[in-house]
Symmetry: none
Subunit: 298 residues, 2 copies
């Protein structure tokens, strides 16, 4: 079965159900009856021979459903671009651009990129904040059309370009250094000292310690899942942590942070992945992101 044989009204209906969460809400959004919505989804499931939706509240697409939803979003995007090119921008339509971006990029260089996108594009940005190792997942699931990610391997149907490397420095407050890191070797002290992490899946601190030849960081781990909050927790002395160089700069100069191992930075390469679509809107965003990244990343 080819995608092009999918009845587009059914595909659009499926997308509406996923976006609105329920058959009733989708019916209201599409101005049809709930039973029409239900019939279209059922017809699409029969045609594809797959269950596309788990009927929970809100509904969830199945793995096969994800594929159709991604197709539906790309379709919607192409349609809007075509209308815009024809000078028929739907009824006062705005083009939504959904992008998954890691917290540290969002806190440092990313927003500046969005202000570089020419006004005439009439876009609205829907940002999703995710760990850079997981942003590619959102792309794969069709939940976003582009992502800042640490993965150079292209997601199916996507193109990749390198943005540069984000540098992290091991840092702590002067008070913390005096209280917890004096004497002995830094690496032994660090392994026992309280550490600030972003969340449970954040292993950049452990990676740094392994580089120094230690197994991993202390069991006293504070998780502060906000980028500025993370840096503030280190400044406040809750623990040491790997701070993005961009955020550390001023704090180091003001003496509010001390760089613990200036000669041992950790660099995380970042990539831009986006749907392979001939979309002027998406292309404008990609250009702006690449330009902003080249000014801020290494």
């Amino acid at each position: 079965m080819m995608m092009t044989e999918l009845p587009l009204d059914q595909v659009r209906t499926l997308l509406a159900v996923v976006d609105e969460g329920t058959f009733d809400a989708a019916a209201a959004a599409l101005h049809v009856t709930p039973s029409a919505v239900s019939q279209r989804v059922k017809a699409l499931e029969q045609r594809t021979g797959r269950v596309l939706l788990v009927r929970t509240k809100p509904v969830r697409p199945t793995e096969s459903g994800d594929v159709v939803v991604r197709f539906a979003r790309q379709l919607a995007r192409l349609e809007r671009d075509a209308l815009a090119e024809l000078g028929l921008p739907g009824e006062g339509e705005v083009t939504p651009v959904s992008v998954a971006v890691n917290a540290d990029s969002l806190a440092t260089w990313f927003l500046g990129a969005l202000t570089r996108v020419p006004e005439r594009e009439r876009l609205c940005f829907e940002l999703r904040r995710e760990d850079e190792t997981r942003t590619a997942e959102l792309l794969r699931e069709g939940l976003v059309m582009a992502a800042v990610t640490s993965s150079p391997e292209a997601v199916a149907g996507c193109s990749v370009r390198a943005l540069g490397r984000m540098r992290y420095l091991a840092a702590a407050s002067p008070e913390f250094v005096g209280r917890c890191l004096e004497g002995a070797s830094l690496r032994d002290r660090l392994a026992d000292a309280p550490v600030v992490t972003f969340d449970r899946s954040d292993d950049i601190q452990d990676g740094f310690l392994r580089q120094l030849g230690r197994g991993g960081a202390s069991p006293v781990r504070h998780a502060v899942p906000a980028s500025e909050g993370f840096v503030e927790a280190v400044v406040l002395g809750l623990g040491w942590g790997m701070v993005p160089e961009i955020q550390a700069g001023t704090l180091l100069r003001e003496g509010r942070l001390i760089s613990l191992a200036p000669d041992r930075p950790v660099d995380v390469p970042l990539y831009w992945q986006q749907w392979k679509l001939n979309s002027p809107a998406l292309a404008a965003v990609a250009e702006a992101v690449a330009a902003a990244a080249s000014g801020s990343l290494r």
Copy 2:
């Protein structure tokens, strides 16, 4: 023989003997008599049909003993992890305190509270960032033991105390005001102007417009799901938005933001909910949070 059929008290005893070096030391560590230790090790050897310990001083595990010791260590690790996950630390361990907190609190007054918790408590904080309308949900699901929430209704098994009100002001950059909000009445202009929201469930901007007598905000909605990122997006002129008074203060004084309706703030009351547990650690955190909130909230 299956590993799961090994009596776990005997396995733990064997590990204690190996770790402590003698039956007597193991008995002291386990708070049982040396003869009980000896009987358990013997019972385990009978059950496995192997000699597990060479009775030297200190004792040494045999090859079979090594297998059981490794199993015992893995078991201990799993148990610690499970206890930590349940918020039930073993002795001498660090007490994890999991708290759900809304992004704006995390970005403003909350971290200061954590530095007020006395050092002797040996806590590690595991923060979860959630919308204040959803933090109570995490409490209900048992994923956190306390939460900063907008809901005054106690979750089952939890106590509630009021923390104060977080004030939000409608604000925009001077450049944005000149470009999008000049002429006509503010409320009509605002309803058509691009707006910055936190995420899809953020309706504080719409609530403000409804207060002014308009249906809701513009279809040009940028979603920036980070607290500082949200404020920066408003400062950069992507749209107007409801900015926490605590974050707006300096920006208003520096002229980087303009307050659009100073006489129409939106106040969000915040509450602290926590498990009804007789936990000194949790009580210390609750005290520190209430003190910090009373200094920053209204």
